[in-house]
Symmetry: C2
DNA sequence: AATCATTAATGTCATTTAGACAATAATAAA
DNA sequence: TTTATTATTGTCTAAATGACATTAATGATT
């Protein structure tokens, strides 16, 4: 029995909930799928699926088995890919998941050059601040705010992710320039909504962390809108410096220096990290993308 | 092409270094192995093995591929085992690796009862202080001094692993009873040789760690011999309390109370841990062994 | 250097296994 | 109750694997 084929059929049936659909996606008759899975069940001595003519349900043990073999199938495919592309030019689909702000401002502009340089690599970039099922089956590269999930995943620090505080000249003229945290309660704040909620303003006074969030003038997960609001003089904004530097240089925004410093977390070493599975670095498309991103982003000097 | 079969053949050829031997272990002609691997290489578009009639060498990419697919094969087998044994009685081979001292004094006596209770589980216990390739392919359960290698491995604390200091009454009569670390340089020590070298005596004085190891009267990785030497009055011995309690109760050894306390590492939370792969807990033989060991060892009250 | 023994590869045939296609049975929806 | 969809089963065909004998290559032995 070709167990591997049976497993692929089984996985697809679980995912589609249908023998017919699974069969279609492999371009074989449904009867073949039915027979292979029946073989598999017989050889395992357990029933994996509860069939009725209209619905296919998975059994408890079938579900457990599916979760394990699905991972195995993905890894086998990755191993095959490693061998197939070994010492060849970068080619294939490259799925990148990135934080929205970083993606818009830094990643997407950079990847145009990448696409020209490696035309056979088809980019599939998705921007989201949610933390993805990271580098398991759905993503080749992920860019996230600092954390290193486990030892099989390599995390390269692309840049610092220091937050700075800014406001428009017009705002400061009207409301004054705050220089210490206690001033902030008299101001208005613009807040970035992370998946975990709006990012607060924190600062450390007398070795104790305090929240010094000002009344809200606006909250959004859309960084560009927040910046526009800040430029329009609606309030004080705290965001990563790589998203604000251009507006400071142009004079549209002015950086505020509040002592003690404002932060958005008690954690000190914030950074933007590039994440990928260690053992896949030898796949050419992965290798060139990692090398390219690390080089280009670091030479931006944030 | 039945890739899975090809992978099994390939893995065996790598391990044995011979098509003929690999073929024998599967009870098929060598020609079959040759063809399957040729198929595999063709489908991958790379050569995995360098053949000559006498020696089979693995290519660089073949080696990488082998390392990855070998892990995949092991995991697939484990997944199959999970399904096959689901809701059945505990059965099969159970490989346990344990530290020597713990194995001799605690594990082996306990497992006699286990064997009677679960006669269909064939025990394969190996004692070694080396840290094994833990719970990957060669061991189902491992018992080790405190560490938790990664997130897929469950580590249950079986007992404390506190080291205590003892000596024979005759030794103390002759050399006096040390009560503080500075006294030790005038004494003789018996030292356990771990794989990393003889365990030193450390203590914390004025927030600084100092080594206060006494001149050696004996060094061995054989705990029983060290205990005998101590009973014979050869020197002071520091070992886990579960290995010494019996001799203290019988009066053959006397526990010394040195302040500040002696340790063998600067780490505070020493323990004996039972390690196994989380996802295998549902395999009956694993489950009953884990439950049995945790219950029995904990009720010993160390 | 020539021979020998071992080992992997190849050719050919038999057997096993998967797929194609039609027919059947079961069931949810109309 | 009827209808449409879906999984299963039967039968035949095609493909893949194994068996066995033979060949080619190579390291060891004389």
């Amino acid at each position: 029995m070709d167990q591997l084929r049976a497993l692929k059929y089984f996985a697809k049936v679980v995912e589609t909930g249908s023998f017919t659909q699974a069969a279609q996606s492999f371009s074989v008759p449904a009867s073949s799928v039915s027979r292979r899975i029946a073989d598999l069940e017989r050889s395992l001595g357990a029933s994996l699926l509860k069939r009725s003519t209209r619905v296919v349900k998975i059994t408890e043990i079938g579900q457990l088995y599916y979760e394990q073999i699905n991972d195995i199938l993905v890894r086998l495919e990755q191993s095959d890919e490693l061998v197939q592309h070994y010492q060849s030019e970068p080619i294939g689909q490259l799925r990148i998941s990135s934080m929205v702000g970083f993606g818009e401002r830094i990643l997407l502009p950079l990847m145009e050059e990448f696409s020209q340089r490696y035309p056979k690599v088809v980019l599939d970039i998705s921007l989201s601040d949610e933390l993805s099922t990271l580098a398991r089956d759905d993503v080749d590269l992920a860019i996230r705010g600092g954390y290193a999930p486990n030892e099989r995943v390599q995390a390269l620090k692309l840049m610092n992710n220091d937050f700075i505080v800014v406001a428009a000249p017009s705002y400061l003229q009207k409301h004054g320039t705050p220089t210490e945290p206690d001033h902030l309660s008299q101001h208005r704040g613009l807040y970035f909504r992370s998946p975990a909620g709006p990012l607060p303003w924190l600062c450390q006074v007398d070795e104790q962390w305090r929240e010094v969030t000002a009344p809200a003038a606006g909250i959004s997960n859309e960084g560009k809108w927040l910046v526009q609001q800040a430029i329009d003089g609606q309030g004080i904004l705290m965001m990563p410096n790589w998203g604000l530097q251009g507006f400071i240089d142009s004079g549209e925004l002015i950086q505020l220096h509040i002592q003690p410093e404002l932060r958005i977390t008690t954690n000190t070493d914030l950074g933007v990290y590039l994440l990928y599975q260690k053992h896949r670095y030898l796949v050419p498309k992965i290798k060139v993308a990692v090398d390219f991103l690390v080089a280009r982003v670091r030479e931006m000097g944030f």
